[in-house]
Symmetry: C2
Subunit: 123 residues, 2 copies
């Protein structure tokens, strides 16, 4: 959704949906990128590394997500906080899919307004 102008300043529009559950942030762009990377790498440690995030920080985000949903979003091979493999559950995959569909659908919905906004922005 980036637009590169002749002068080289690219304009970008980014949906950064946040889902709150009471005081918790159940979902947001960072948590979704983390889940995506865990799905790709099969490892919390590798996913955290790619995001420049500590393992403990990644685990804390996962813990919050797991607490917010009826079922956990991922399972670890040896359970708990050990650094074994990690796999998204069906809930995790469904949450990720719905979030990405929300991003895509909302980007599409705002295109006319975004075009108006772009005309006001320097490029």
């Amino acid at each position: 959704m980036d637009k590169k102008s002749k002068k080289g300043t690219s304009l970008g529009l980014h949906p950064r949906w946040r889902v709150t559950a009471g005081k918790n942030i159940a979902l947001g762009p960072g948590k979704m990128d983390l889940l995506t990377l865990i799905g790709e790498t099969g490892s919390i440690g590798k996913a955290a590394g790619k995001m420049g995030m500590s393992y403990m920080r990644a685990w804390s985000l996962i813990k919050t997500m797991n607490e917010c949903f009826h079922l956990p979003v991922l399972v670890t091979e040896r359970g708990g906080r050990e650094r074994g493999g990690a796999t998204l559950t069906d809930t995790g995959k469904e949450v990720l899919k719905l979030y990405r569909q929300m991003e895509k659908g909302s980007l599409k919905a705002v295109q006319p307004k975004w075009r108006s906004l772009q005309r006001l922005l320097r490029t």
Copy 2:
């Protein structure tokens, strides 16, 4: 967009659109709330205060916005950084209007997915 359940955990869905212009964040929820409050109070200082933000921080956000658009988003009575009154320009009003329309339109567009997501969330 909050949903209070019988058990009292409210679920909320928040569009937090971010507009980037090169490395700058031209618009985001914080900048938009600041513009809204400046429009309401007519004062950068009062708007900053309501957001628990320093005057310098508010001014820095406004400076970034002004740099990103062809025309400034607000004018101050005595110009520069003095603590006089502040008024949104036509550009400022238009930006704010388009941003709020994007929020509203995108929330509407994602309702079916959001209902699916809510079923997975604890309440």
